[in-house]
Symmetry: C2
């Protein structure tokens, strides 16, 4: 057509405004994407273009919301009676229905809740934080780390739990002492200059809170045996935990959890439950979201897509120009479709993890008796390894404790024979961290995303060519098939991002596909107009 | 009188109930004080006993509140028109008046505020947390640590600020690598068993996020150059900061701040300002607190105390059985009194620090442009070294940034010639951490507790025999004089505790003296009744 790249960009600019040109330039690699900025979508006007969106989880809701703003005519088909997908908050009276027919109903105090799916928003998830602001969802701090939280290993310290402040700071003290010893012995003279030799000793002294002779004999950082008070009540320090015992204790995972990039402070949660987010989207979207609409067929047509669905009655059909398919791959597998062989292959290959959580209502003994507000506790041995204390409604009488969060597949927890056995394992883990308090736990709820109808899995697991290693080129396999357009069908969800298992990944994947559709609509218009001008 | 200790305890039990006996037994060292429990006062009934309390800061308010509950007839004399003392929240329209006549008025948005005195409540300060609960003061998390907060040194990294996640995790990586090198060289074979040798390497690999060869080449924990996204947007890691440069940077103080026992997560603040606490006490106390009542004389009488005070009119006199003197020692110094020579000596010897804070209203550029919510930032060089980002009203448009918090005495900041110079130093520090944003700061407020009328200091400094070393026996000097009764005068305040500069210390000191007075009242009654019985 004899249109230079510059011409093309100018025309995009004329037709779609600066935003479209800017995005196109980014896609061509002509401009850097500012690392500090949240993803924003500025889509070409979409009036007259119909999009059917499958799945009303975060990916589907974000796609509908952004395309709706640009004038596209969207319909979201959601199988459940609620929006959010895995973003699911359980409250008093909420029913959890497993695919095998088992069902549970939470019986809790009026304002108790439990985020059965995502339960935290890291500061780096700017897209989701941006939506909370845009939609008016109030956030509060999610305390993901507390130095008062506990670590426990049956094989160490007689099974007695220790505070994280103690394990973390005693470990640092010992490591500093050992390294200082080596430096004093000149064991690092090949790598440290004389100047660094001395500064390193000075640094380690501060880092590990060492004595003048570089020995570690304990630190106030590790907490105290007796708190300072008034009058003659002086503080009494703890004896340090020996390094040998700390190595035995294998508290490493628990100690370093807070340093995972997406677990680092500051983190947030919506006040009152994570589902405040999907409900805020749903309120904006109104009738765009069709609930109890179960997808039964996904077909290609010469100029678009046709989706068959049932809504507690005879099958209905919706036709559209484009489809954004934001259903879990585990569900897509069983829906008759016209996908390309590569996509079919990808969907059949991808393996899902099955994450679980167990939640109990209880008196907040962890606050009242342990001085522990929010944070995560860790149990090294046994089937239940993680304890998650509520950050909401701190200081109130009762709260919901998540006693167990992990993956069922190939895990000891997953091998337990019954829901009752799982509850007992959960209670036993609480008892390890808080002896005598296991009996305070009441009205448990068990979530297993692998058993949830319409999910059958929590997130993509270690399938070949998928999440093998977050840093390598793994997208030549199924992932690649799923991030490319299959005719007029686009896949979205956290599984189409590098942020698996997080709402941010779902939102960014939908930003991406809405841009792809918008660019395509725009290009088609431009090429139509170019053809007209040339004619 | 021939009463055995056991008899005495039994009689205390009869007269004061189990609580009194329990407390007495604790004082005699017969029972341990449970470390995990908050301090509680259960005072003997005090009807008919008059107590005058000097100073309506936390110590005075707590004393009046607890003694009031037990029926004592209390009067609090407070020089200002507000309760709280150093617990002082500045809002739009609040006037800050220095002793030299200089005055400032905050001109801020309606709900902006700045805690000019205490601004955080650690989890370990159970007494203050308990009062917040008892008085219905809502608390929220104070974010004292954020991995997105910054560290800056003019002499390192070209003066470019680095994120705390980067300094903290790269430092740990390098330390782990160096120690692993030493262990591999068998430099620690004298202290590590063969088994520990191997486990230590395994541990360091996890601790420092090392490569298989135990080298540290960077970690996702240190943050990324480019965030992971959807489609082909993979994460790009940062190059690690070299250990040599980290040693040069001297970020140690900033990096380890979060590990100080009383700075450790989880921390809190009252929603809307720290002064919600004294106002809640004041509401309970009603007329018990006399405002604008400036103490002019403190005298002993044969059976009690007499205090002269002025209340914008002719001097007034109040007589009482006991006095709790909770005024700063800097103020007591200049009030004519009948204190014992030891107390006079103590008061004259004790030296006060002069803490300052500078606060500005600004667009929350730290949140909007730096993804930074709460936490503390550190600047190594220059007069202003600490930046404190607000934890309240996160995600709102404007906020109050504390750009500078430290001690004026003998500091570079204190040597600055004028308030204007201090504001400029504060702005310059912000500019170092956030280049280009210094100009967004508006309407500054400068607090200097050493200059505040009725305070003339922030807290006891490094006076001889006082806070020389928190762990040694320093209470043989002035401290000892101040924690003993001077006839019927009892001193209270954080300076009568081992928790200097914290509200918790003030509250515990008042718990202590109210117990001492109660025990004395009780003993007097018992001894009167014993005498009667024997008669």
């Amino acid at each position: 057509m004899g249109v230079t790249r510059r011409d093309f960009l100018m025309r995009v600019g004329q037709a779609g405004g600066f935003g479209a040109a800017f995005l196109t330039m980014q896609h061509l690699g002509l401009m850097p994407v500012a690392a500090a900025e949240a993803s924003r979508v500025e889509l070409a006007a979409g009036a007259g273009t119909k999009v059917v969106i499958l799945g009303g989880g975060i990916a589907g809701l974000v796609a509908a919301y952004e395309m709706g703003k640009a004038g596209y005519s969207c319909t979201v088909l959601e199988a459940r009676q609620r929006p959010g997908g895995r973003n699911f908050t359980v409250r008093n009276g909420t029913k959890i229905e497993f695919a095998d027919g088992a069902s549970q109903t939470a019986i809790w105090e009026a304002d108790s809740y439990f985020n059965a799916g995502p339960a935290r928003l890291p500061s780096i998830h700017k897209t989701m934080l941006g939506y909370c602001k845009e939609l008016g969802v109030p956030l509060e701090v999610e305390v993901n780390t507390s130095r008062s939280a506990l670590l426990q290993n049956d094989d160490a310290f007689g099974g007695k739990a220790v505070e994280q402040r103690q394990a973390i700071n005693d470990t640092r003290g010992h490591v500093s002492e050992l390294l200082a010893k080596c430096i004093q012995k000149n064991a690092l003279d090949d790598v440290l200059s004389k100047e660094d030799h001395d500064r390193m000793l000075e640094f380690l002294s501060y880092y590990g809170d060492l004595q003048k002779d570089f020995s570690y004999t304990g630190s106030e950082r590790s907490g105290v045996e007796k708190l300072a008070g008034a009058g003659l009540d002086t503080e009494v320090l703890r004896q340090p935990l020996p390094m040998h015992a700390l190595l035995d204790a294998k508290f490493w995972n628990g100690m370093m959890y807070e340093e995972m990039f997406d677990m680092q402070a500051t983190m947030f949660q919506p006040v009152g439950g994570m589902d405040r987010i999907p409900y805020a989207f749903a309120e904006k979207l109104g009738d765009t979201v069709q609930y109890t609409a179960v997808v039964k067929e996904i077909r290609k047509t010469p100029k678009g897509v046709r989706v068959v669905y049932s809504k507690s009655g005879p099958d209905q059909v919706i036709e559209a120009d484009y489809c954004i398919c934001a259903l879990p791959l585990t569900i897509l597998r069983n829906i008759p479709n016209d996908f390309s062989p590569q996509v079919k292959q990808a969907i059949s290959e991808v393996y899902y993890d099955s994450a679980y959580k167990v939640a109990w209502e209880s008196r907040r003994f962890w606050e009242q008796d342990y001085n522990l507000y929010g944070g995560l506790g860790f149990v090294v041995k046994g089937p239940v390894n993680l304890m998650w204390y509520p950050s909401g409604k701190l200081f109130s009488e009762k709260g919901v404790l998540v006693a167990g969060y992990g993956v069922e597949n190939q895990s000891d927890f997953g091998k337990l024979p019954s829901m009752q056995a799982k509850f007992e394992a959960s209670r036993a883990a609480v008892e390890k961290l808080h002896p005598g308090h296991g009996k305070e736990l009441t009205n448990p709820v068990y979530m297993n995303w692998g058993m949830m109808r319409y999910n059958l899995g929590s997130w993509v697991g270690a399938a070949p060519s998928y999440v093998k290693n977050r840093r390598s080129d793994y997208y030549d396999g199924p992932y690649k098939a799923l991030i490319e357009a299959d005719d007029r069908i686009y896949f979205s969800g956290d599984h189409c991002s590098h942020i698996i298992g997080w709402q941010e990944g779902a939102a960014l994947a939908s930003h991406r596909v809405t841009r792809m559709i918008s660019d395509r609509v725009q290009s088609a218009r431009l090429s139509a107009s170019t053809t007209t001008q040339q004619a």
